[in-house]
Amino acid sequence: MTMGTETVSPLLQIAQVSHSFGGLHVLRGVDFGVPAGSLTGLIGPNGAGKSTLFNIISGFLAPQRGTVRFDGRDITRDTVQTRSRAGLVRTFQTPKVFGKLSVRENLMIGCYRHLASGVVGNMLRSSRSRGEMELMHARATEAGERFGLSEVMERPAGQVPAGMQRLVELARGYVTRPRLLMLDEPSSGLNTTEIGQLRELLQRLNREGITILLVSHDMQLVDVASRVHVLCFGSIIASGAMVQIKQDERVRQAYLGV
């Protein structure tokens, strides 16, 4: 079941993270780590605080207490952009594709942070600017083939089916060459066959060295994770391999319902 080359050093470390909205305590001193090279799962029932935690890790929300460390560095107060440039890239529960841009352009823009041409150079079509566009084009083509998007590359991303938009978002994240790819419910809206394909895709990406943090309700998909953390009412109630998790009494009561 274990995929990837798991090591002991945590790429992402969440320590004592707490957050509340008004009087509602959504996260209560959450601790967990994502080892470099791992495929880690985060599961929990609705309202467990998964989305809040995801937003805190990716920088869309500042925690009221606790720290987020990425590659040993405290990034708790860093902006979303700074985290992205460090290699922490996420997807959204409802896919956020650039709807008016073609699928190809969506993938091309994934290269943005690795390139450096300026506005003036772009206006004058400097050799650097042209070279970057060729590079972005080539990387988009490669990612399109890899994620099975070749047929729809020139279509506006907002007009491709919802399941495919999810793939576009995932492929765009892949093009950024992330160190940690955080996926928020990537299987929602997919059928069983598509979920199977997504599993294989995630395993392949992980084998290539991309650390993945997966938030999902979907047991069929979360099974792919080498280690799973269970979040319930704002606290981690169990951590371990999926086989162990499934047998944990608290998890069975709180989440699996068996």
């Binding site: 990716s58 869309f60 902006t79 979303v80 952009q81 992205s84 440039r85 890239v89 996420r90 959204f92 956020k96 594709v97 650039f98 709807g99 008016k100 841009l101 352009e105 969506n106 091309m108 823009i109 994934g110 943005y112 942070r113 390139l115 041409s117 300026g118 506005v119 772009n122 206006m123 004058l124 079509r125 600017s129 970057e132 566009m133 972005m136 907002g158 978002e169 765009r172 994240g173 950024t176």
Partner: protein, 313 residues
């Protein structure tokens, strides 16, 4: 596109453009010069609105700064035209960067109101600082642009100066739109959150575009000053900023060349309709409303959509 067809698509408009001032009346050529000036200033506003979602009502300020710098440096100090234009662009871009950095943290109506405030402040300062701007009396005696002794001193001559400059700027913006940063602008317009996740510095890009837009406004103002040879505060009131925004919306903010059509609409059409007598203002207003309702993406967007629809799949 086959070469012959490509030659026709580009060649026919070029021929019409080149022949037009020789067959049109001097008055119409004068209006076409203004359409060229407004295209340059309006391009900045359209690019901001279409690519960044920023409603700018401050373009009249930068237009005014360009005009007054040209008037001051060229008429008062006797310096050559490029000095006045460069000074205007330098001052405009500096102000755009200084003011844009804080206000571009705002969005939507709040940002539009902030740019309107800038427009109003500019209008008041142009009037009050009469030691610099001449106030309502303005500054006259601005020399013509005359490189190597050839003076652009008639509408016909200026037509062949302003439109190539406008075309060059349209091409530069077209290049920008189809580059790394152009893609980034379009991406952040569609989904700011997803753009942030990809590491795009949205605020910095917006400030850069605001600065670029100010440079266009200033350049148009400098050309305007050289063309009319007299500038006064009336030309740089907020209603001018509204005209620039109007031409951007009418022309279509999602196409680079939309402002050309918008500028022609707001300069040539009212004059052409004036032959209808007193009713012409109502007819123009009706045409304006009809254009906005029927063509939500402006003339440029409508033409582009028509072109795409008829192209073979």
């Amino acid at each position: 596109m086959p070469p012959l067809r490509r030659a026709l698509v580009w060649g026919i408009p070029l021929l019409v453009w080149a022949a037009l001032p020789f067959v049109a009346t001097r008055h119409i050529v004068d209006l076409l010069v203004f359409a060229g000036l407004y295209t340059i200033a309006g391009l900045g506003v359209a690019f901001l609105l279409g690519q960044c979602g920023i409603v700018s009502l401050a373009q009249s300020v930068f237009y005014g700064i360009g005009a007054y710098c040209t008037a001051w440096f060229c008429a008062h100090k006797g310096l050559p035209s490029p000095v006045g234009a460069a000074a205007g662009i330098a001052l405009s871009t500096a102000i755009a960067a200084l003011v844009g950095w804080p206000i571009l943290r705002l969005s939507g109506h709040f940002l539009a109101l902030a740019t309107l405030a800038l427009g109003i402040i500019g209008q008041v300062l142009f009037l009050e600082w009469d030691w610099l701007t001449g106030g309502t009396l303005g500054i006259g005696g601005i020399p013509r642009i005359a490189p190597f002794g050839f003076a652009f001193d008639t509408p016909l001559r200026f037509y062949f100066l302003v439109w190539p400059i406008a075309l060059l700027l349209l091409v530069l913006h077209h290049n920008l739109l189809h580059s790394r940063n152009g893609l980034a602008l379009r991406a952040m317009r569609d989904s700011p959150e997803a753009a942030a996740v990809l590491g795009l510095d949205i605020h910095r890009l917006k400030v850069q575009m605001f600065v670029l837009s100010a440079a266009l406004g200033s350049a148009a103002g400098s050309l305007f000053a050289h063309y009319v040879t007299f500038v006064s505060v009336d030309s740089f009131a907020v209603d001018r900023a509204i005209s620039f925004l109007l031409l951007a919306v009418l022309g279509g903010v999602y196409t680079v060349w939309g402002p050309v059509l918008g500028a022609l609409f707001i300069t040539v059409l009212p004059q052409w309709l004036s032959r209808l007598g007193d009713i012409h203002a109502f007819v123009f207003a009706a045409a304006l409303i009809a254009a906005v309702i029927l063509l939500p993406e402006g003339f440029g967007g409508a033409i582009r959509n028509w072109w795409r629809a008829r192209a073979p799949k």
